[in-house]
C-alpha cells in the first residue's frame, strides 16, 4: 500500500537485555531481550496480561526495580543504561510516552496541554514568570508557536483554545500524541494508540505515523491489540506471552510463527 520504504535502520536506539520484572512472586516480565532500531516502527504484541505495559513502565522508569538492563542511545550517540534515571528525567533522553487511558488535563485548553509536554524545555524559572520578564514572555510565545505548528500538523489546530474535556475520544488520542511531539522526542512509546478508534480514524492514524517518522524523525514503539493495524504499520513486531519473549521479526514472519499462533489461539491438538 502506501507504506513508506523502511529507512536505513541500522543502529539500535533502544535495547532491552534480559529484563526481568517481579511483582512479589509473580514474574510479569521474564528475561526479555529485544531492540528497536532508529527510524523503525516496532509493535509489541501479546495476549492480555502478557506484560506489555509493564515493559513500557520499566522503559520509562515508572518501575525501577527491574533486573537486567535497558539501554538507550543518548545525544552523544552512545548507548547508556537508563537504570537509575528518574521518571521525570526520561524525557531528557528523548523518550516520551502516552498512556493506555488518556491522561490529559481535562480542564485546560488543548494548547495548554501541549505546553505541558514542553515543560522541561523552558529555561526561565518561577520568579521570571511571576515578574513576566521579556525573556519569559518571549519563551512562552516561542513554545506557543511550536505548539500551534504541531497542532497544525495533527490537523486539530482549530481546537487549540477549546477545553480538552468534551473532545471526542479520537481527538483526545491525537492531542496525547501531539503532546509527545512537544518534547522533541527520539522515541515515542504509544500504549494502544488505536484502541477505541473507528476504521476511518485508524486509517488516519496510520498515515500520521508515517508522516511522524518522516517529518519529526522519530522512532515509534507501540502496544496494540488491533492486529490489522499492527501488521500494516510496523516494520518489525515483537510478540511476548506471560512476560516471555516469543518471537520478533517482520509482520509476515510473526503471522506464520508457530509459538505466536499458539499464544493467541491455543495449542493444536
Amino acid at each position: 500500500m502506501n507504506k513508506n520504504p523502511q529507512p536505513k535502520a541500522t543502529k539500535p536506539l533502544l535495547e532491552l537485555k534480559d529484563m526481568t520484572m517481579r511483582f512479589g512472586g509473580l514474574k510479569a516480565v521474564d528475561a526479555l531481550s529485544f531492540d528497536v532500531k532508529e527510524g523503525e516502527i516496532v509493535g509489541l504484541i501479546g495476549p492480555n496480561g502478557a506484560g506489555k505495559t509493564t515493559v513500557f513502565n520499566c522503559m520509562t522508569q515508572f518501575y525501577d526495580t527491574y533486573e537486567g538492563d535497558i539501554r538507550f542511545r543518548d545525544a552523544n550517540d552512545e548507548m547508556v543504561s537508563l537504570k537509575g534515571v528518574k521518571v521525570n528525567d526520561i524525557i531528557d533522553y528523548g523518550i516520551v510516552r502516552t498512556f493506555q487511558n488518556i491522561e490529559l488535563v481535562p480542564d485546560l485548553s488543548v494548547i495548554d496541554n501541549l505546553l505541558i509536554g514542553a515543560h522541561k524545555q523552558f529555561k526561565t524559572g518561577l520568579f521570571q514568570h511571576i515578574l513576566t520578564t521579556p525573556k519569559a514572555r518571549k519563551e512562552e510565545k516561542h513554545f506557543r508557536q511550536k505548539a500551534e505548528e504541531v497542532l497544525e500538523f495533527m490537523n486539530i489546530h482549530h481546537l487549540k483554545d477549546a477545553l480538552v474535556a468534551g473532545q471526542p475520544y479520537g481527538v483526545q488520542k491525537k492531542i496525547e500524541i501531539a503532546r509527545t511531539l512537544m518534547g522533541d522526542p527520539k522515541l515515542i512509546i504509544l500504549d494502544e494508540p488505536a484502541a477505541g478508534l473507528n476504521d476511518h480514524e485508524t486509517d488516519e492514524l496510520e498515515k500520521l505515523f508515517y508522516e511522524l517518522r518522516d517529518k519529526y524523525n522519530v522512532t515509534i514503539l507501540l502496544i496494540e491489540h488491533d492486529m490489522g493495524f499492527v501488521m500494516n504499520i510496523c516494520d518489525r513486531v515483537c510478540a511476548i506471552n506471560f512476560g516471555k519473549f516469543l518471537a520478533m521479526g517482520s509482520p509476515e514472519e510473526i503471522q506464520t510463527n508457530k509459538a505466536v499462533q499458539e499464544a493467541y489461539l491455543g495449542e493444536e491438538y
Binding site: 520509562t60 515508572f62 528518574k86 521518571v87 521525570n88 528525567d89 526520561i90 524525557i91 531528557d92 516520551v96 510516552r97 498512556f99 491522561e103 490529559l104 488535563v105 481535562p106 480542564d107 485546560l108 495548554d112 505546553l115 505541558i116 509536554g117 514542553a118 515543560h119 522541561k120 523552558f122 518561577l126 514568570h129 511571576i130 515578574l131 513576566t132 519569559a136 512562552e140 503532546r179 518534547g183
Partner: protein, 382 residues
Amino acid sequence: MTKTNKTNLPKELYEKFKANKPLHFLLFGIGLAIMLLAPYYDFIPGGRNTNGFVAPAIYFTVAALGLNLLLGYGGLISLATSAFIGVGALGMGYFMLFQEFSFFLSLGLTILISLGLGLLVGLFSLKVSGIYLTIGTLFFATILENIFRSVLPMSTTESFREITFFGNFVIDTSKSYTQLRTGEPQYDRYIALLIMVAVLVLSMIVIYNIIKSRTGRAFMAMSRSANAAAAMGVNIAKYRIIAFMTASLFATLAGVLYAIYGTSVEKNIWTLELSLFILAVVIVGGMRSIFGTFIGALVIFTVPNLYINEYLRTFSSFLENRFGINWQPVGFAPVFAGLLIIVVVLYYPRGLIKLFYDARILLLKLYGLIRNRLAKGGATDE
C-alpha cells in the same frame, strides 16, 4: 485602508484590554481603594464602620488566594491556613513588640519562618496523600496553635500603638476615622487599607502569572494525572513543595496585613474554624477564580457582619417587643457560611463567580430578543 483601521481601533483596544488581566486587577484595586474612602464622606448612611467589615475580606482573600492555588491547581487540601495566618500575625507581633525589630526586618524573619514551615508541610506531603495529607495538615496546624498558646511569651492580646514603616512613615491604626471632637478626618487607617489593597492586587497578579506559566500548568498536570505529569518531565516533589510554600507565604502575608490593620494581635483565634472559613471562601467564591476568591471572602466575612447580624438584631428586638421572647442572635456567621456552602455546592458548583457569567448570558439573550422584536417591528412597519 485607513478607514478600516479607524473603525477597528476601539475593538482592537478592547481586545487588548480584555487580554491584559493584570490591568484588570490594578483597576479593581483602584476601584476598591476609592470605595474604601466612603466612611470619610458618609456615602453609606450610618456606615462609619463599613471598612472594619471589608478589611477582613481583603486580608483573608490573600490567604484564600494561596489556598486556591494549592487546592484548585495543585489538588492538595491544607487545613493549616489559619495556623500560617497566625504565624504572620504573631510573628510580626513578637518581633516588633518583644524584640523591637524594625518593620521590614520583622517581615523578613516572619516570611522566612513561614517558608520554612511551608517546606516542612511540603516535605510531609511527599510521603502521604489524599485524606491522610489533610489530617496531617490539621495536626500540623494544631501543633502550631499550641505553640502560639503556650510557648510564645505574649499575653492573649498584644496591641500595637503604631507601626513605623521607615523614617517618618508611621501609622497609628488605633485612631478612628475622624477625630471625635473636631470631626477632622484621620487617614491612618485608610493608609493601612491602601497597603492591604496594594498587597491584594500584587497577590492577584502574582497568582495570575503563576497559573498562566509553566508552573501553573505543571500544578494542573500533577493534580489531574501524576503519571502523565512525571512522564512529561514534571518533578512532582518539587511542585508539591512549591505549592505548599506559596500557599503558606500567602497565608502569612494575610497575617501580616491583619497585624497592620488590626492594631492588635491575638493568640487564640487561629483555629480550625478559621481554616474552614477560608476553605469556604475558595469553594463559595469559585475554585480557580481570582476575582471569585474575593467575592467569596466578601460573602463569608463581610456580609454576615455587615448586614445579616444587623437584620437579626432588628428581628430579635422585634421578637422581644412583640412577643416577649428573648433570643440573642450570637454567632450566626458560621450558620450562614454553612448554608451558603450547601446552596453553592448544589446549584453553583463552580462558585459564585459563575453568577456573573450567567447574568451576562442572560443579558445577551435579552438583548438578542429585544433586537429581534425591533427588527420584526421595523419589518411590519414597512
